[in-house]
Structures are given as C-alpha cells and as structure tokens.
Subunit: 317 residues, 2 copies
Amino acid sequence: MTADQPPLPAPDADDLVVPLRAGERLAISRALTEVERQSLTATRLIAALVPYLGKAVIVGITGPPGAGKSTLVNALVRQVRAVGRRVGVLAVDPSSPVSGGAILGDRIRMTAALDDDGVFVRSLASRGALGGLSTAAIRSIDILDGAGFDLVLVETVGTGQSEIDIADVTDVRLVLAAPGLGDDIQAMKSGLLEIADILVVNKGDRPDAEQTVQQLHGAVSLRAHNRPLPVLKTTATTGAGLDALMTAIDERAKVAHREPVAVRRRRRARVVIARAAGDLITERVRSGRDSKLADLADALLAGHIDPRTAAEHLLSG
Amino acid sequence: MTADQPPLPAPDADDLVVPLRAGERLAISRALTEVERQSLTATRLIAALVPYLGKAVIVGITGPPGAGKSTLVNALVRQVRAVGRRVGVLAVDPSSPVSGGAILGDRIRMTAALDDDGVFVRSLASRGALGGLSTAAIRSIDILDGAGFDLVLVETVGTGQSEIDIADVTDVRLVLAAPGLGDDIQAMKSGLLEIADILVVNKGDRPDAEQTVQQLHGAVSLRAHNRPLPVLKTTATTGAGLDALMTAIDERAKVAHREPVAVRRRRRARVVIARAAGDLITERVRSGRDSKLADLADALLAGHIDPRTAAEHLLSG
C-alpha cells in the first residue's frame, strides 16, 4: 500500500487535529492520505478525534451500475449546500487508483465550486477485485466526521461486499434502482433490499420509473420483517424529489443517532478489524504458502474434518 | 441452515458413491442436499469422490444484472447437449431460498427436457446479504464433478464477492456485459475484467452491441498484464456466436487443466475453508458479544493499535 507513495514527511497527528477540526482543506487532505497509508499518524489522529466523532450523518449510497449514483450524489451535494450544511463525499471507486480513481471526484468538483469550503470530495480505491470498503475507506469516514461535516456521503458501486460494509458503517442507507429493473428486482431482494433504509428510483422522468416504484413497493411488502422502507422517485438532473429525499434522510438519521455514540464508534472499529482480518485470510489463501491452511485443506479432502471445524482451527492460531 | 429441512434420514455416504458416479439423478440430488446441510455424510462423500475430481470443466458465468446470464446459460446447455456432452448447472441465486431459489432452475428444466439425464440443474442460495459463493455452493461443484458431468456451469450475479470466489474455484470465467454499457465499463475494469478469461456481449443483435465490443477491446488493451482476453458476441435467443464461445471455453479449459488436479483440488478446499472462516469472523462482529474483538476495538479507538495488528491479534486465537 505504501510502496507507490512519494516520500513526503509524515505530518504529526497533534499538528493536524486543530486545523482538521477547523475544516481546513489541506489538513483534511493530508489526514486522508495518512489513513490511506495506514500510518501511525492516522491511528493517533483518529484516537485524538474520538471525542468528536458521531455527530455527522453518514449516508451510504449504493446500487447497481447505471442506476445514476454519481448524478444523485451531485444533486444531493447541491441540495445540502443550498441550506448551508457542510458535506463530505467519499466515492469508493472500484477501478484502479491510477486510471479511474479521480474521475468522480473531478466531476463533482466541477459542479460544486472548487473554492467552497463546505464541500470536500475524495475518491478512494476499493479493495480491488475483492470489492467492498477498505479499512482506509471506513476510517476516512471518521476523518470527515471529525472534521465537522454535517453529512458524509459514501458512494459505492453496489457489489455484495460493499453492501454489507455500508450497512455496518453508515447511519442511513440509500439503495438506488434504475427504471425498468424488471426481472432483476429478484436479484435485489435479499442483498440490496435487506440493507436499505430508503429506496430511490432515480431518472424519475423516464416513462418506466413509476412501474419500477410499484415493483419495489411490491417487493418491500413481501419482506419478512416489515420495518418501514420508503420508495422515493427523484430526477437528479432537475432536482425533482430531492426535498423529500433530504427529509427522509434526516428522519432516518434521527432514529440512527438515538443509539449512543460510543456504541456506533465501537461498531465501526469492529468492522475495520473484521475487514483487516478478512484481508489477512485472503492473503493466506492466495499465497498458497500457509502450511496450517494446507494441512487443513488436506484434512478436508480426506474427510477428516468439515469446513466449519477447519475454519475454527484456522482462526484459533 | 438445517432448521428448515424436513427430517429425512441421512443417507450413508457409501451408499451414495456408486449411484452418484453412475450419474443417477436421485443420488445427485440427495448428495447436494447433504452438502447444503453441511452434514457429516457430505464430508465423507466428498472424501470418497476425491480420486475422481478434476475431470469436469468448471465454467463460471457472471456479470451485472440484466446482462442476460440465465439466457446464455440456457443456450450453452442446449449447445453442449447437441454434441452429447453432459452438463451440470449450479445457479447461485441471491434471493432467498424460499421465494426465488427455484426460478432459474425451473426455467432451464422447461427448455432442456426433464427426462434428459445429461442435464442436471440446481439452484442454490447465495450467502444472503454477504454475497458470494457459500461453502455449500463450492462443495456442490465437487459433487457434480464427481458425478461425471463433462461441464459444470456456475452462474452467479456479478457482485464483488462472487467474482473473487468464481475466480478461485472455476477453470474458465465468462464475464457478460449488456450492450450499451457506456460509462459503466469503468466499473467493470478492475473487478470483473480482472477475473475474466472470456468476455461475452450477449444480446448481440441489439444495435449498440458492436460498440460495446469495441469499448471492451479498448478496456482490455489498457490492462497492465496483457494476457489474451477474447471478446465474443453472442445472441442466446438465436444461437449466434455459441459455437465460437464453446471453442473458446474448451481452449481455455485445456490451459487450466494443465495444472495438476491435486493442486486444483487443494485450492478449492482452501477457498472453502477461507469462506467458512470469513463467515465465522462476520458472526463474531455481528454478535457484538465477542470480548476479544471488543477489547481490540477499544484499543483501536484509543490509538494503541492499528487495524492490521488488531486483525493479527484476532486471528491468533
């Protein structure tokens, strides 16, 4: 992770806390870079920020490719800025950090004025082929939360692993669907519908949008646990439906923030550790050089052990 | 996993091996059910099948919703049967085992004659919101391989976790794209393109199909490691392009099967264990009752430890 970074001197955590808390762009940017580097500075900085964490409303925005996530994020940023609230955006981009990582960030920067200190956008690499949020992405939420943004929008492409991550580390989860979903509503059922707090059919001006809204209502009503799950129609390009969406987000955030901040902070920390543990296990499987795992694989093939017991052995040192 | 199963008497592994090897439907069906139950019979049965594993060509078929995966699987089954080869299909369905699990299976059964012993279709639940292949799905491949099918098609919806699983447990990976992918080609770049052996633009009769083929060629040429990656156009409904696709699959399978069968078997076993280990970690995070994880989360929040070190502690017992 650190090999390709230029050898900048690492800033001291103590020097970053005050300007970061004041919302200074340079401090936020350097803090996020330290988090990406997984440096000691990052660990110390987040520890120093702990007393301030849990104030921001963390909004996860996910959905299949083509649902219009970037456009909606863009429209939400404008909506939030119009009422003077500050907003940070983390765009978790599955393409490589080199080739595609900055595209979304650039797009938003173009529409939201570059000199607006009320908006901060950062594109982050996802965990590559693994999908999902990296430990760095999850800890970046803490940085923006600590920097005093009122809202933090976390946009991910809707892959399975992202969804579970989003569910664990955000307060409000928007799941977007494109009009004309048809048979694919089936595919959304357990994965995306399970984690959603608000369903959004974007491109609401398309003729098949209303039918998709109705299909989603149908799918929602079939779920086992019937907590309320609003289905909203927005047209990001015209701003239609954005007011109702913001209201729904704030309503849901109120519910989420009833949970004590210490509990939310600890859950995010647990997820960070679990994600790092998953990465370690994947490295062990991939390397093929782990003798314990090799022995367990042989025992499994010989029928001496079942998968779960093998996993318990693997995790017990 | 076992709570909802009717209390059938568990068949003995020894009684299943011979009829399973003979390709008897009932034996295959019962064996797959044992695997889903994660029973001792399943573990013993797979151990007994080990000497016969590694002959089938395992084909992973994935891609975003709407790319036409089920239609292509259907067409491939017909193509394979036309030359007398036997084919098993595992459809990993992300919707719940109750509501949607059988839909694809039923669809294929309708087109491939029900009394054709050369085709066997089973729909499996995915790991729910987690996405990806369950340990049962991976072990089901062994069952169909052991039952002597020439090809095993594993169809999954293209979520991040499925992709990595597919890459580890199959010989040939088809990634499907729908025509008119446009900007979303970006999203495919690292995730789906990384694992693909063959790219397929299905719905090849649509006017924008050729443009998507060209875009994919462009994306492929930009990759760092330039192993050959064919881009094929198929029209599942008419059968156009299916011959070329089958040839490409067989070519790639030849390369994959140069790797010794013992190595392939062990890799699949390692992935099964890793998947089970991931499930265990998720359970620990979810339960919130794991005192070691809680301590590590507190140490992380206090800045005493970084995520990777915390993960190492978690995995070391």
